[in-house]
């Protein structure tokens, strides 16, 4: 598959982070490739979220560096990462429930009118609506196309689809998804994961954190396993459930039974 030849766009080198005496991340190297879905797996406290937060600018590492497109970058805030085209999708609380799809898609990044009106902060609602609808159609997401319907009136799956659509709209380099299906039903989950695949095919580096191993095996081109803050494996083939479980818990599956 051509996607396997993806070029490394986001790189973490020797990343470490401690919270007091607790070592959340211990000298981890990671390479994330364009057009691939990289899954990040590990038990609770293995360091997955810390790693993703460092790459998304939400946590500043104690040591190590981050490179985007080969250049060293310093990410102090999520806004720094967003400026580099890196978006993060959270489980929840990322959308304004009383606002409609268009407003949420452009939340904090509103398009202003040209000329004087824009100087006074006037919104270009027409341009935002057009771009939002194009994006919804391109992704084929099943959300109400009519504007003015607030996000809170939609189902959980539709809401998450809006969050993913927003991520996809702004993600030029990478898109991180931290347990994107945790609050969703089976059908809604598969829809969101399908979207992740579509977005990767568009050339974006997708990183998926998930506890649900069947999702990981079905979707991921590459699986990075973390345990106690360290990277213990990186798999691109022969990804079986047994192997993943063994790597995650750190004992031989045969010994455990």
């Amino acid at each position: 598959m051509s996607v396997k030849k993806g070029r490394v766009v986001i790189e973490g080198i020797g990343l470490s982070k401690s919270y007091g005496p607790i070592i959340a991340l211990d000298n981890v190297d990671i390479e994330i490739r364009a057009g691939e879905i990289t899954a990040l797996v590990g038990d609770n406290g293995a360091g997955k979220s810390t790693l993703i937060k460092i790459l998304a600018g939400a946590v500043i590492p104690d040591a190590g560096e981050v490179r985007v497109n080969g250049e060293r970058v310093v990410l102090r805030t999520p806004a720094d990462a967003r400026d580099l085209g890196i978006e993060t999708i959270f489980q929840d609380l990322a959308l304004a429930p009383d606002r409609d799809v268009v407003t949420n898609l452009f939340l904090g990044r509103e398009v202003l009118r040209k000329g004087m009106a824009g100087k006074f902060g006037m919104l270009d609602r027409g341009a935002m609506e057009a771009q939002a609808l194009t994006q919804i159609d391109a992704l084929g997401v099943n959300i109400p196309r009519s504007t003015g319907v607030s996000i809170g009136e939609m189902s959980g799956g539709q809401q998450q689809s809006v969050a993913v659509a927003r991520g996809a709209f702004w993600a030029k380099t990478g898109m991180f998804m931290d347990e994107p299906t945790a609050a969703l039903g089976v059908r809604e989950s598969s829809r969101v994961l399908q979207l992740a695949r579509q977005i990767a095919q568009g050339g974006v580096a997708v990183v998926l954190i998930s506890h649900i191993l069947p999702h990981v095996m079905e979707l991921a081109d590459r699986v990075v396993v973390l345990r106690h803050g360290q990277k213990v494996a990186e798999l691109t083939e022969d990804i079986s459930m047994d192997r993943l479980v063994t790597l995650i818990v750190g004992v031989d599956a045969d010994d455990a039974t």
């Binding site: 990322a94 429930p97 606002r99 990044r109 939609m154």
Partner: protein, 342 residues
């Protein structure tokens, strides 16, 4: 949209019908028309230009503060110090005018006092993380106390005729205060509907966390709404004193509840994130027309309070029936209650 079954997703999800939108405004408009029709039949005085001007004059001052209280509530905050700010800024203007300072200086002084109130409220809410409801009850007491200290509890007769004319005069046959109110409504309505700042106020009220993650500064928005609230409350204080020809330390007392009632009747939610200036205008006008109607049919003032109360309860009850939840959001944020959301 309405009557859709709530989605039973995670605890952070809730479905709320779009009550704050056009449906509420339509209902209010119909109520205004219905009352007008009934009143036209009941009283020969109702449908007269003079009476409409009476209503307009009566709601002008409330309207200015209701206008600025709308973004306040939409942002998920409330300012209960607006009435005390009216009183204190009015006393400030009065005290400056008695010193024979020019009218513009007196008005400027009143507005500065208003901004100062907004500043203090914002500091308490943003820096000390005090719930706005509590913070502004506190500052309301303080401002009212200071208003009494300005002239040892006595009111101030305003000698400057040009100042008094700002409130008592008319232009094109319409009382001047009505123009100020219209300008404030248009200005705030424009900001809320068409600008980035307005969009951010809605976003912050709808979900402070989502707004923060989207790079919107929640503290900046909070600062903005409190400064605006202080400023326009002071403006209302100027109009109030110019209309009365005197400044009273208790000026505006009790109006804060009337104002918030009008905003909420207009469809703005205490939970933040929803509401519109159009709704507030209709809410203010509806309450004004009801008060005027009760006057015309000869029912005394207490009945106006009763009708206001009934209307407010009925309006909020319809919100509840359509599935809105109140806990943990907007004005209720940071208030400890037995039913705190997880």
């Amino acid at each position: 949209m309405i009557g859709k079954k709530p989605h039973s997703g995670g605890p952070s999800r809730r479905i709320r019908a779009n009550v704050g939108g056009s449906r509420r405004s339509l209902g209010l408009a119909l109520a205004i028309v219905a009352i007008s029709i009934v009143m036209t039949m009941v009283s020969p005085y109702f449908f007269a230009a003079g009476n409409f001007l009476n209503v307009a004059r009566a709601v002008a001052i409330t309207g200015i503060v209701a206008a600025v209280s709308t973004p306040m509530l939409i942002s998920g905050n409330v300012d209960l110090s607006v009435a005390a700010t009216m009183g204190l800024s009015g006393m400030t203007a009065g005290a400056l005018l008695v010193q024979e300072l020019p009218v513009p200086v007196a008005i400027l002084g009143a507005l500065v006092v208003g901004l100062l109130m907004g500043f203090v409220n914002a500091v308490i809410v943003v820096k000390f993380q005090v719930n706005s409801l509590i913070a502004t009850i506190g500052t309301a007491f303080i401002a009212r106390g200071v208003a009494f200290l300005v002239n040892s509890g006595r009111s101030i007769f305003i000698p400057a005729e040009s100042y008094v004319n700002l409130g008592q005069g008319s232009a094109l046959g319409i009382p001047k205060p009505v123009f100020y109110t219209v300008v404030v409504f248009v200005l705030i309505g424009f900001v809320m509907r068409y600008t980035k700042v307005g969009a951010h106020i809605y976003a912050v009220g709808s979900s402070p966390e989502a707004a923060r993650r989207a790079g919107i500064s929640v503290p900046k928005i909070t600062w903005g709404v409190f400064l605006a609230s202080g400023f326009f409350s002071a403006l209302a204080g100027v109009v109030l004193t110019s209309q009365a020809g005197s400044a009273f330390p208790y000026g505006g007392q009790g109006r804060e509840l009337e104002i918030i009632a009008a905003v909420i009747v207009g469809g703005t939610a205490l939970t933040g994130g929803r509401g519109s200036i159009t709704g507030t205008i209709l809410g203010v006008v509806l309450l004004g027309i009801i008060a005027n109607s009760l006057n015309l049919v000869g029912l005394p003032v207490p009945y106006q309070d009763i009708s206001r109360g009934l209307l407010l309860v009925a309006a909020v009850a319809t919100d509840q029936l359509s599935g809105r939840t109140l806990g943990g959001r907007g004005v209720f944020r940071g208030l400890r209650a037995g039913t705190e959301e997880s």
